[in-house]
Symmetry: C2
Subunit: 403 residues, 2 copies
């Protein structure tokens, strides 16, 4: 129980006064699955049939690891304390094997399809389907001369895109985190509903959102065998840099030209943004600062400034970072309309400290930026849903659209 | 081993002469997962780490159930005999618990997200991404007055849809099977690639394909608790009929009007088809024969003619079936441009016999139809991919398109 985490305990204290407890199936369940279920105090009850197992654990990736208890009917059950609102990855560990919960829909995370539970945030409707016009989410395929094959991407087109055939739109490129894929911002993040709701409220410009697969390999490249190499080994870092470089080229040489020739975009830097979460935030900083001719809005959600930011031993020098792009804050402010850095207050200490260090360095150098802290949330999707909800309204407010 | 099935053994004999055996990761694997892997004789090798488990089985839903063998390194492995080409559902049974394989992507089937393995059909490229123009697959949301909520559907738009803004297209409504959902025809079936390839070859008219979620409940309807009721109980049959009726109304009253107002369709019966697999085939027969004012092409893939077809004790009377729509074969042929009935030769005997009985009854009554048998395949996706490949070219060949 000691791994429940500060965020969970903080939230639990808020719920202390509530006593009602009618359980309802989680929104993340498959059709008609009665478990897992959540009560009004945000406790969750899990159940799995495993009559022959000798030990079953409930394993939250960013939260408690709880022993499940065998019932006489062969089911194992456990009820959690109140949980932090948001979407939590979990698995069931059956006799040592990490298994998905068959009652939960599968979400791609941790480099596998796994289970998640949605703990509703009381009073929050911004990330669910409301009675407003809905955009579409399109899977598209493009041929990449960088990877030498077909790649897919998801594209959100805002309400009215098909009807207003003379209107052109700005574009936000929005990237998933490490271990996730291009489906994350829709399936986990509900980016489409967030934008539908913001656009309906009139607070956000209608825009296209492109979600690419963040893993790319150059044609002919054979990834090294990292078996036996420690995490962070030189071989692993080299392979990661090679993938990041291939992704950068794929995005700027194949994906962006495809999007601009396929959709009614406004294909200039004033109408092109990029943001991403965790690994996607680091990719965002790499791609945008290497290509300030292409982008003028930049967002790092729980991941910003590159790998060096995550290390306590390295100073971030605003004079030299990103080839000097930040050295003249006035010039930078004219060139980049928004630099956004977000983090959850309950993220792992090193992650939180790295982001704060970047924020502090930018402040000291008087480099204009927005620093956003999501209260009470960890390195999880509720942090990034909130980032997007606050970030999107600030996009494309500069300059007039060129039709 | 006795449950490997006739299809498997038939195929194995074809491969007898082949001896090479270089294993390659299955196309259904998550990124970089080395297992499961398939060799050139179509044997598949599976592996899972479970050092504490006492028994692990590989469980093909339409094929063999094999004991896996524990290796000294804590991995359990097994290599199958040569498998039938196509996409096979499977799970791993760890100490009695049915678990997904973390190395496989998840596919919705059997009312859960589960594992599948793609066994490539030698020489077949029709269901994979080729060097041809690709359509888009769009997730759309529509409000249904029948269910009282938002529902989603997937919509394939053919290559060129966004560019040729004056062209209107015919529509095929294409339904998944029981236990699957609206993602099945894309994720499992590759319907988009099948159509891309057929359209590029010039053999099939460009068309829109709509894939709806086949489960619908009327607003306010509370499904009965079927706990303890046997499969096929009167309560279960009543609940199924109620769901089928709600689906029919949702489709005809909410979905079709939404599609016709959202996409550039040709909104008449001559340019509207419906087909489905298994449960979706039965839904197709119910919806189309109740609404011949809306449809003129009908396809049942391994599911046709309604539930009664699946029962050996009931005769199919072409004079009275479907309110007499088949009673006059000449009138029917004028009204319905295509009636398609497909089945795999290796499907379970009752399923195969039911479809053949319908085909025979139609033949005897001289009701024009196409009967298609997929050689060597069972009640699985390879049967339905082939159905679609043969069925789609026959659509919308009657009458001129009305722009």
């Amino acid at each position: 129980m000691k791994r429940i985490g500060v965020a969970l305990l903080l939230f639990a204290s808020l719920c202390y006064a509530q006593e009602t407890s009618e359980f309802k199936p989680a929104a993340t369940n498959i059709l008609d699955a009665p478990y897992p279920r959540v009560d009004s105090t945000l406790r969750a009850e899990f159940r799995i049939k495993a009559p022959d197992a000798t030990a079953v654990k409930l394993n939250f990736w960013s939260g408690p690891k709880l022993d499940m208890v065998k019932q006489p009917d062969g089911f194992w059950t456990v009820t959690t304390p109140p949980l932090v609102p948001g979407l939590h990855y979990y698995t069931l560990i059956v006799d040592g094997v990490e298994a998905s919960d068959p009652s939960s829909h599968a979400f791609y995370g941790g480099s596998r399809d796994t289970s998640m539970i949605e703990i509703p945030e009381p009073g929050s409707t911004y990330y669910s389907a409301q009675e407003v016009p809905h955009g579409q989410v399109r899977e598209v395929w493009y041929h990449s001369s960088v990877t030498g094959g077909w790649r897919d991407a998801l594209v959100y087109t805002p309400p009215g895109y098909d009807e207003q055939t003379k209107v052109r739109y700005p574009v936000l490129y929005l990237q998933h985190g490490g271990g996730e894929d291009e489906t994350g911002w829709i399936k986990q993040g509900h980016a489409n509903f967030i934008l539908d709701n913001l656009i309906a409220a009139g607070s956000t410009k209608p825009m296209i959102i492109v979600m690419a697969n963040g893993y790319a390999r150059r044609a002919g490249y054979i990834p090294p065998d990292l078996t036996g190499k420690p995490f962070g080994s030189p071989e692993m870092m080299k392979a990661m840099q090679e993938m990041a470089s291939a992704f950068e080229d794929d995005m700027t040489q194949a994906l962006i030209p495809f999007i601009d020739s396929t959709f009614r975009t406004i294909p200039d830097r004033d109408h092109r943004a990029m943001a991403g979460l965790s690994m996607g935030g680091m990719q965002t900083f790499q791609v945008t600062f290497d290509h300030l001719d292409l982008f003028s809005y930049i967002g790092g959600f729980s991941g910003a400034g590159g790998m060096s930011m995550m290390r306590g031993d390295q100073k971030f020098d605003t004079k030299t970072a990103f080839n000097g792009a930040l050295a003249d804050p006035t010039a930078f402010a004219k060139r980049v309309h928004l630099l956004w850095i977000g983090v959850g207050t309950e993220e792992p200490a090193m992650m939180h400290a790295g982001i704060v260090k970047l924020h502090t360095a930018l402040d000291e150098a008087k480099v204009g930026h927005v620093f956003y802290e999501s209260p009470g949330t960890s390195h999880e999707w509720q942090t990034w849903r909130r980032d997007l909800k606050e970030f999107a309204p600030k996009l494309f407010q500069e300059g007039a659209a060129k039709p």
